[in-house]
Homo-oligomer: 285 residues x 2
């Protein structure tokens, strides 16, 4: 099976209401007097990191990408569990974990360690506590809302390609935890931009049943000369959100478009209709 | 690094108090008005399942082994997240998930799906709600307590080796969820027997700072002719627990020994001192 077929098959299983139909980045569970937000991501050697990557960077990224999912829910991290396959440079991996857990003030809760042959796969489960309910989702964008991002796109791409100014954007991304918490009460929809602005905006439009009309002049790109690539590359982990016109945002953000009722395509970039998700993401590394 | 070295390195990281020093099967977190119990296990092709295994059995086992960790805490399952690497027989994998989630009345919460080369690694995170606090731990066994198991050991071994009567014990193990909930208020220490009775009893003795004195005559083995192997093989997922002499157990269980103050070795099997954990487990498929 390919990934869409597999996820469609999973949707036929008994789903928890907090699974949000497997269409969101996290599960959201009312638990006692609070709301639990939980996410799990895997990374595999050869697919998500190179065989010669610094394992400290890999560990950082494993933590950061999961915490970015919590950030998009306005959740405060409680802790993480790791699934670790032993291999080269495990001491570097632990040092990267230490750096990330310290930087994001998030403790280790547990996990599992295995020995196995072949390419390495690593998993991380992040648990958070919602700071605002209802917890923001990809769905919820309303016609008339503004579309915003918290920062420029393309920095991770430049870092991946060796630009010394942007190396950290690729190797050591920062989840927008404070921004997510500040925005959660204000937004109508929110997600992190992990797979590229266009593809993630498309997904938000689909989940919300609207069209997102983006203004290319308004989108901040780390390298305007490579605008088309910057808006397709992922790994930047800025937050993409929609908010009603009257919302008074409390964090710096760039207005990049407007939500419209669903038209012919879920996504408009200026005058261009973008209806095929296969054309929106940029396959990389 | 090997596994003990890696886990020792992890212990130097910022740990959540609920991580229990990475010495237990689950993390236990006070969350709102309730207590969250969470565990993550991985399985890899070639190490934890054969390349020709029925992927439906693999999925069942991935669910069952994690729920067994919840059972040992007396926790009620809330849901699971899966980390799935695409590969052969994904439809069978989904069918096994469906069977297990239905059998254990546990919904899917979410997860992650990746495509990668090489041997497959699969992860599962199980979340539960404690039904009794304090939540039982491996530590807590007191001198004078009885040592008990909920059922015989060695059935999974016989099933693995082709005994038709015991195939299901290996392929489709049953977490002792009801037993764990009934026992949680009564026990001084509890864990599941995933790695073999002797090795897991050794770990309980170490975590509790006591000696467990086991009576070989009292240990129920699925095949008495292979007693030494039955008490070393794992994968049975019975519960091992200690309880004060006055405890009135509400589930059937076998008394297999007595807790003593720490002597020369953490484990006694009849008159034999067992001090080297390397001799206690049985390496298998």
């Amino acid at each position: 099976m390919n990934e869409p077929d597999f996820i469609a098959a999973l949707r036929s299983l008994p789903l928890h209401p907090g699974a949000r139909g497997l269409a969101d980045d996290c599960a959201v569970i009312a638990f006692g007097s609070e709301t639990l937000v939980i996410t799990h991501d895997m990374m595999a050697e050869g697919t998500h990191f190179r065989a010669d990557a610094d394992m400290a960077d890999v560990a950082w990224k494993l933590v950061a990408t999961n915490l970015s999912d919590l950030a998009a829910k306005g959740a405060e991290p409680v802790g993480v569990l790791i699934g670790h396959m032993l291999g080269r440079d495990d001491a570097r991996f632990v040092e990267g974990l230490r750096a990330a857990l310290t930087a994001f003030d998030t403790p280790l809760l547990g996990g599992d360690t295995i020995a196995a042959a072949g390419a390495r796969a690593l998993g991380l489960t992040a648990i958070g506590r919602a700071t605002f309910t209802p917890v923001p989702a990809r769905s919820g964008a309303q016609a008339g809302d503004g579309v915003w991002i918290t920062g420029p796109v393309g920095r991770a791409m430049l870092g991946f390609e060796g630009d010394p100014e942007h190396l950290a954007a690729f190797d050591r991304p920062l989840p927008r935890l404070a921004e997510g918490r500040a925005l959660a009460p204000l937004v109508s929809a929110m997600m992190d931009i992990s797979d590229g602005l266009l593809l993630d905006a498309f997904r938000m439009a689909e989940a919300s049943g609207v069209t997102l009309a983006l203004d290319p002049q308004a989108i901040p790109a780390a390298d305007p000369a490579q605008f088309d690539r910057c808006i397709r590359w992922g790994d930047d982990y800025e937050l993409l959100f929609t908010a009603p016109p009257a919302a008074r945002l409390t964090v710096p953000a760039h207005r990049i478009g407007t939500v419209a009722t669903r038209g012919a395509a879920p996504l408009l970039l200026g005058e261009t209709s973008l209806a095929d998700p296969a054309s929106l993401g940029y396959r990389h590394g």
